[in-house]
Amino acid sequence: MTFEILAQAVINGILMGFVFALVAVGLSLILGVAQIINFAHGEFLMLGMYTAFWMWALFRLDPLVSLPISIGALGLLGVCVYKLITKRILDAPRLTQIFATFGLSIFLRSMAQFLWSPNSRMVQNSLVGDLRVALGKVYVGAPQLVAAAGAILAYGVIHWLVEKTEIGRAMMATAEDRDAASLMGINTEQMYTLAWAVGSACVGLAGGLLTTFYPVEPNIGLVFGTTASVVIALGGFGSIKGAFAAGIIVGLIQVVGGFLIGPAFKFAVVLVVYLLVVAIRPQGLLGKY
């Protein structure tokens, strides 16, 4: 019996971990290329979720059907935030960068509360909402399964984009050394914009997928945002692979830790693991710097 509960926890944890991983990959891409941690990344996710929710509430579009809309909307938001805000502080001290995005996160969170009230909202009867798959006595919810599949697919696409295409190599060159890349004829401005667009589109996708099984409220970004920062630090800054792997690990630790110590401590367990890891490897699991 206990074994089955544990197996259930492990599966749920890994599936949730894929969503964390997707959110973190977006954040990692922005940090890796544009050299800035977007502390409003969790709020971006919240907006992605609200986009999917309102598409469902107003137009009866299932979150899975409206995925292109939430991906597009968030991609656009990322571009706007880069062009209007972060582009101006590329060379500013780290604290300035932290505060610009912190201010943005406070703004977006209160804006959501102002526009849509602090109530928690949930999409009902989504396409995959009530389905689940039985593996012996362990059940796997279809929404979680779809979300994990979407995350893996997105990671595959990003990995391909970064590793195999000309644009991806140009992006990595920009990440490595902006001035040198610029001298080699790479349009670094375009690369920064692209990183913000793709990084934010990741949370658009994650938001749409999450909405099928997770309620949305204005403060949701706090937990997801902090988790994403911890995930990319755990994985190592600049490593997209590290971010993805760390996301899955964090999902697993959260659920299993919550199961063993108590659900109230599930987030704290993740943080303790992070501190232990960086105590041994200050640059995270797969980090370059």
Partner: protein, 313 residues
């Protein structure tokens, strides 16, 4: 000349404004200025972006309140106990995080603060999520409690704390310690190559910062008479003290005070005029201003004044 004028204004302020609300704002400004001055020691002078100082604020608030509630210990002694505990916490936190650079360090600080908060929320002995109500004692300086609508005694208490902190930072700025701190900020590896024990001095900065933040924590508990994890052990507390230092001007003596004055001014003004509807318009405006400030005035208010001065000359 300017410091004297500031001191005089600060001293007569509660004599001129006798209503509870302006006096309350005065208390808020001084308390937040104290926290920002404390944060500035690590964040501004030493360049370590620690976003977990709410831990020290919480330790200060909880230590004195719990000692008073459970053992009847005088809050002044509670405050000293809290300061001692905070310094110990700073040493522990310092040893676990100082090997980390940049964002790794910042995220580690956030993580540590969240862990402490989770522990307090889930420990009934510490009041849990409900919080701790500070027992009421007879109003007197000895009891660190002043009731009624006249908030001037609280104001002068916190003003004294702030003055002590400013004096310490002033002395530090001009001592060897200050030079070591700034050397670490500018180039940690370089400073170490020149024989500065970076780990040790970062620890000293962290402890000084913890000490004053903890003082502010005890003051908060005695002033509001109620504490809970949401108000004293939360990320926004860490962020706001740092924000004020940044807004005013990092690594300057008066920057944090100026920042506290501005930010409390903005937040109170927006709260009074736009708040109360429960629709977070005030916070929206606050977030927007913080963002705009970071983008257009990255050197803080002190930097702005510096530029104006330079232009005049």
């Amino acid at each position: 000349m300017l410091p004297v004028a500031v001191a005089v204004i600060a001293l007569v302020y509660p004599k001129v404004f006798r209503l509870p609300y302006p006096q309350h704002v005065g208390v808020l400004v001084c308390m937040n200025a104290l926290m920002a001055v404390a944060w500035n020691i690590t964040g501004g002078y030493t360049g370590q972006v620690a976003l977990g100082n709410t831990v020290f604020f919480g330790i200060g608030a909880y230590t004195s309140s719990l000692l008073l509630r459970d053992f009847g210990v005088n809050p002044w002694i509670g405050m000293l106990a809290g300061m001692a505990l905070s310094m110990i916490a700073a040493v522990v936190l310092g040893y676990t995080t100082f090997r980390l650079r940049g964002y790794y360090f910042t995220i580690a600080c956030i993580a540590l603060a969240e862990i402490v908060s989770a522990i307090v929320v889930n420990t009934r002995r510490l009041g849990g999520a409900v919080g701790v109500t500070v027992p009421i004692r007879e109003a007197s300086l000895i009891n660190f409690q002043f009731h009624g609508t006249n908030k001037a005694p609280y104001y002068y208490t916190i003003l004294t704390f702030l003055a002590i902190a400013l004096l310490v930072v002033y002395k530090m700025e001009r001592s060897k310690l200050g030079y070591y701190f700034r050397a670490i900020r500018e180039d940690e590896d370089g400073a170490r190559a020149l024989g500065v024990n970076a780990a040790q001095y970062k620890l000293i900065a962290f402890m000084m910062s913890a000490l004053f933040t903890s003082m502010a924590g005890t003051f908060y508990a005695q002033y509001v008479m109620f504490i809970d994890p949401m108000s004293v052990l939360a990320q926004p507390v860490s962020v706001s003290m740092c924000l004020m230092a940044v807004l005013g001007g990092l690594g300057t003596l008066w920057g944090p005070v100026l920042g506290a004055l501005t930010l409390i001014g903005i937040s109170e003004a927006t709260r009074v005029t736009l708040g109360g509807t429960g629709q977070a318009v005030d916070l929206m405006l606050y977030g927007l201003l913080v963002m705009l400030f970071a983008v257009f005035q990255p050197k803080g208010l002190m930097g702005m004044f510096g530029r104006l001065k330079a232009r005049k000359e």
